[in-house]
Amino acid sequence: MIAASLREFVADAPAGDDSVAAAALEALSAAFTTAEETGTTTDRLIWLDTFDWRLYRAGLMLRFEQARRGGRLVLSRTDGTQQAEQPVAGWPRRPRLPEDLPDGPVRDRIIVLTSPRALLPLARAVSTASVTRLLNADGKTVARLVTEHTTVTAPGTTAPTAELPARLVVTEVRGYPGQARRAATLLAAVPGLGYASQTVFTAALTALGRHPSDGGPPADQEITATMPAQVAVARLLLRLLDTLELNVDGVLRDIDTEFLHDFRVAVRRTRSALKLLGGVLPADLAGYYGAEFKWLGDLTTPTRDLDVHLLGFDAMAAQLVAASPADLEPLRAFLVRRRAREFRRLARTLRGPRFRAITDDWRKALLEIRDAGGPPRPTAAGLARATTGRAFRKIVAQGAAITPTSAPESLHNLRKRAKELRYLLEFFAPLHDPVSYRKVVSDLKQLQDCLGEFQDSEVQRAEIHALADAMLAEHAGPAATLLAMGEIAAKLALSQAEARAEFAVRFARFAGPAGQERVRVLLEGRP
């Protein structure tokens, strides 16, 4: 393992056992006079990241350091190198959106990575440090030995859950680098003292059993080419159920809008899997749960639609040419009120018996299938080939029939087919050659973006009309707001027309002879 620093050491001794620290001082006395500084300093800090570890995955870590009044946010690389810091008044108990932080270099750096996610506490730490000065023959301090004892607590609990091994750090005094090196060399030879292989942050996460999610499924949910298709499908669906359940708490606590988004994606994927692969499951299962998951999807739609409006609100307002962004503010207030109402309804239902029954019974059913095994044929690979090929052919046929005069519904339907194909590709990704997979997904994504733009523009335009009606009915929309909304609707119509014009090129790339060959290679391998 690579040492975090050649000046940082960790004692291999249980908490409270100071024998290693004493041995360290003994070793240092061979070259230095030591003088212990009176008193200790205590630092309190909270490490923060989004639910899906966006900062960590970008190689960063963020901590809030509490001071007597307020505190500061410090952004570092995961190796500890500081990147930016800014003062903040404090850190609330509940999660906090970076958008709500005061302006400053940390906010500027992280917002592009985290938005729209909130920052959650990963771990809290209380660290007590004592300092021993290392003196030369003139009695001058030429280096310092800082001994840190850190207690870490998982968020949401008050009892300390882990005490990290004592950490001994040699700090350099400016102009005396050689002395710090010398001290570190002496410490390196002390039995029971090893180079620190982790930063305090990583050590804290390890001690609390928290690990950045790597996105991979647990071993008992992996799929292989030769396993029975029924087992593979049960595993896929279990994984989706895990994702769904993982997000429920964040949805109910309304931490950030991504929880509901990820929840809905898991529902949508489950529904697609039931529709496209449900045939291999025992009779009626797909039909029954297909209906239940549709109910669940529909339940979440109003809140999500309002989230989308609110998330894109500023960008939308910035596009206004004739009207002023301020004209749209009554719409924002209206959306916020509606969202609060819809969210209450959603939360009530998610806490209710029907949702609980769906998830509990569904899991039980899937576990039974997974553990019982299934008929050896078809295999997972066979099912992947058949369903993916069918989904692709359907897109080719439906897309080819679309002309510039076709009704918008034809493009909407094609978008649904494209989404189904995308899900199938992702479900069976571990069975495909990665290079061929990336090529097909990249083409498909281009087509999906175009179809998405087309449909979203239309849906949003219809929603703007519906919102305008509702605001009029509730006397919540002044004329200036309605006019501004009209301008937004006109812009959406323009985007839709552009997407439509783009469609033919994107479709040809995906479904033309070259695209068909790429899908053939993906499913059958090279000749």
Binding site: R133, D138, G139, T141, V173, G175
Partner: protein, 252 residues
């Protein structure tokens, strides 16, 4: 970055003890502080237990073959660094005079100011502890400083010196330091000291209200090898320096 310089044409008037204690108090107040011991005798370096030696000597620093940054040493105190003295500083006049002819284009009297400029990002306050003399070094210091701190022993002669110095600085074109005098090594038992202090403080706005008394505790600094404000923070001497610093730092 604010530059303070302790200066007096005479030696033994409390320049170094003032520079050392005021620099310490500045750092203790949270300012990133540098003290440059320009005196080849190296008294300030001695008080901070730093060897009075700079690699390449004053020549390397003045010619720029070694940056100031490179020669700085950390003291035992947070935020307080020291640029040590070097015996070759005794030739600094020649070095400063010579630098102008080596093509830097900087006037001989502005050389130190130019050398200090790159430190602006790193330090809030710089204290220059000058050797006693009238020389190219002291003229450089006057041009570099924002505040010229002049310790005065309360005698008629030293008052004359302050007048001369104020007049000299007033003749500068462009940047002029604020001259702030303070009484040093004051013996309250001497009537003459009391009279001069009372007169000068009432007549001149550039004389600080806080006098620094002559105390054996201040002399003890050379035994303790630390600022009196650090090793005896509650002593009369430390309190006097703190009062002086708070008076001076009010204008920052």
């Amino acid at each position: 970055m604010k530059i303070f310089a302790t200066y007096n044409i005479k030696g033994g008037v409390g320049k170094t003890t003032a520079a050392v204690n005021l620099a310490y108090l500045s750092a203790a107040d949270g300012f990133r502080t540098l003290l440059w011991d320009l005196d080849p005798q190296g008294a300030a370096s001695f008080l901070f237990r730093v060897k009075p030696r700079v690699k390449g000597g004053g020549k390397a620093l003045i010619r720029g073959t070694r940056t100031l940054d490179d020669a700085i040493k950390g003291t035992d105190f947070d935020r307080l660094d020291l640029l040590p003295a070097d015996f070759t500083y005794r030739n600094m006049d020649l070095l400063l005079g010579g630098a102008a002819t080596t093509g830097t284009g900087t006037k001989p009297t502005r050389k130190l100011a130019r050398l200090l400029k790159p430190l602006a990002a790193e330090y809030d306050h710089v204290f220059l502890d000058c050797p006693p003399s009238i020389s190219l070094v002291s003229e450089n210091v006057m041009h570099a400083a924002d505040v010229l701190l002049v310790p005065l022993i309360p005698t008629t002669l030293s008052v004359r010196t302050l007048d001369q110095l104020t007049e000299f600085v007033a003749g500068f074109s462009g940047h002029r330091p604020d001259v702030r005098a303070f009484f040093s090594m004051v013996d309250r038992r001497k009537k003459l000291h009391q009279e001069i202090i009372a007169t000068l403080q009432s007549e001149r706005a550039d004389v600080a209200a806080t006098p620094i008394p002559a105390l054996s505790m201040i002399e003890r600094m050379s035994v303790e090898r630390a600022p009196v404000t650090a090793f005896a923070p509650n002593s009369v001497a430390a309190r006097a320096y703190r009062a002086l610093w708070s008076e001076l730092s009010k204008d920052i």
